[in-house]
Symmetry: C2
Subunit: 275 residues, 2 copies
C-alpha cells in the first residue's frame, strides 16, 4: 500500500476515535455538546499541519478530560533529528495521533491516560499505550484491569502483554520519588513489523481503552468519598504533574517541536497540591 494512503487511513482512525470517545463521555455525563473544541495550526506561514483538542471541565463525573487529535509534518530541528529513527538522510517527518487524559471527580476512580500515534520519517512506526493512576491502593481493580489488557494483547501476540507491561512500568516511574506514577498498563513504540497487523493492534488498544474506562467509571463513580480522599487525590495529582513536566517524552517532544502548548499541557490536572 502507498504510504500516503496508509497515513490517511491511520489519521482517519484517530479522528473517528476522537469522536467516538467524546460521544461516549457525553453519554457518561448525560449531557450533550459539552466539549470546548480548539483547532490549531503548527506553522504560522507554512503548511505544517495542526490539530484539534477538545476539553471538558467541572463535570459530574469528570473534573477534567481532554481528547486530543493532531496531524503534524515538517522537518525536525538539528537538535531533535538525531533522537528520532529514520532521519539520517532527511529531517522530514509526519506524525499523527490521539491522546486522552481523564482526571475524575470521584477520587475512587483512577486518572486514566491513553494515546496512540503513527510517525513517518524514512519509514513509519506506531507507538502508544495506556496507563491508569488510582489515588489509593485497589488490588481488585488492578487485577481486573491488567487481565483485560492481557486478554486483548494475547489476541495479537502472546509476547505483547509481558513486554509492553514492563515497558510501561519502566516508563511511568518517578526516580526522584522512587515510586510509580500509577499501576501501569501497556506502552509500546517503534512498532513497524507488519503495518496491517500493527495497525489492527493499535485500533484494538483504542477500543480496549474505551471499554476499560467505561467499566471503571460505571463501577466506581458512585462510591462514596470524603474530603480526605479528595486531598489524597490532589497530592497524587501533584506527582502526576511532576512526572509530566520532569520526564514525559511526549511533553518534551511537543514543547520542543513547536506544538500547541494548551494541547500538550492538557494532560495536567485542573488542581494539584503539594504538602
Amino acid at each position: 500500500m502507498n504510504e500516503d494512503i496508509k497515513k490517511n487511513i491511520v489519521k482517519n482512525w484517530f479522528k473517528i476515535l476522537q469522536n467516538v470517545i467524546c460521544r461516549d463521555i457525553e453519554e457518561i455525563e448525560n449531557k450533550k455538546n459539552i466539549f470546548k473544541s480548539k483547532s490549531w495550526l503548527r506553522g504560522k506561514s507554512k503548511n505544517e499541519g495542526g490539530g484539534e483538542f477538545r476539553i471538558y471541565e467541572n463535570g459530574k463525573v469528570f473534573d477534567k478530560v481532554g481528547v486530543n487529535f493532531s496531524e503534524v509534518y515538517g522537518t525536525f530541528s538539528k537538535k531533535f533529528k538525531n533522537k528520532i529513527p529514520g532521519t539520517n538522510k532527511s529531517p522530514k517527518f509526519w506524525a499523527s495521533g490521539i491522546s486522552v487524559v481523564m482526571h475524575m471527580k470521584n477520587p475512587n476512580v483512577p486518572a486514566m491516560h491513553f494515546n496512540t500515534r503513527y510517525i513517518y520519517t524514512s519509514h513509519g512506526w506506531f507507538g502508544g499505550g495506556m496507563d491508569i493512576t488510582p489515588s489509593k491502593k485497589d488490588i481488585v481493580l488492578k487485577k481486573w484491569y491488567h487481565e483485560e489488557l492481557k486478554q486483548m494483547c494475547d489476541q495479537h501476540n502472546k509476547k505483547y502483554y509481558k513486554s509492553y507491561k514492563k515497558w510501561c512500568d519502566d516508563y511511568f516511574y518517578l526516580p526522584h520519588r522512587k515510586e510509580m506514577r500509577g499501576i501501569g498498563g501497556i506502552f509500546f513504540d517503534y512498532k513497524k513489523k507488519n503495518w496491517e497487523k500493527d495497525f489492527s493492534f493499535v485500533r484494538d488498544v483504542g477500543i480496549t481503552f474505551k471499554n476499560i474506562y467505561r467499566q471503571i467509571i460505571l463501577k466506581k463513580h458512585k462510591v462514596k468519598w470524603n474530603k480526605k480522599d479528595k486531598e489524597t487525590q490532589y497530592i497524587k495529582r501533584g506527582r502526576y504533574v511532576e512526572f509530566n513536566l520532569l520526564y514525559d517524552r511526549g511533553t518534551k517532544f511537543g514543547l520542543q517541536t513547536g506544538g500547541n502548548v494548551e494541547g500538550i499541557l492538557m494532560s495536567l490536572p485542573p488542581l494539584a497540591k503539594w504538602k
Copy 2:
C-alpha cells in the same frame, strides 16, 4: 584565608540567615514555633552532608513558606561533572546554600523567592538572587521593588544591577508560554573575583530580601481580595510549577545529585491550577 575557614564562615552565615528569616516570619504571622523542621543526610552510609528545611503552611499571611539550609559534599557523577566549573582534575565538590520560597495567602502579595549559595570544586564561587511573582500587574510595586534592588547593588558595584537584572529576566522565562515567570529581580552565578567583597554582596542580598518581603507583605497583605483573584493566583502558580519542573537548574541539580526531594520540591506551591 584558608578555604576551610571560608566554607565555615559562609555556612554559618546561611544558617544564621535561616534563623533570622524564620523568626521574622513568625513575627509577621504573630505566632511562635510554627515551623516544621526536617533534617536530612545526603549519603546513607557515607558522610556527605545534608541540610535542614523548615516549612510552614496554612498561615494567616502565608499559604506556604519554606526556608531551606543545606551543606553537601562528595563527588559529582560523570554525567554531572562536565557541567560544573573546576572539575577537570577532580570530581569533588562542596556546596552550601539557603533558599526561601513564599507562597502567600493574599493574591495581592507576590510569591517571593530567594537563594544564595557557595560552591567549591577546585575553586569557589557564589551564586544566588531573588525574584518575585505577582499574580496581577502592579506597576507601582514593580518600580519600587527594582529601585530597592538597584540601590543595594549600586553600593557594591555600579554594573551589578543592570547585568544581574538581565540575567534574572533571561533565566526566569517560560519559552513554551513566551512569558516571564514574574517581574524578575537579580540573579548571579560564578561570582569569584574577590571573596571578601563577593561574600559581603551575598550577605547584603539576604538582608535586602528580608527587607523587601517584609515591606511588600506589610503593604499588601490586608488589601481585600475575592475568589476570582485567588483563581488567578492558582493559575499563576501553575506557571510556577511548569517553570520549576521544566527549566529550573536548581531543581534538576538537586534531583540528579541525590538531594532531599522534599527539600528540593519545597518550592512548589501548595495548590496550583490549570485551565
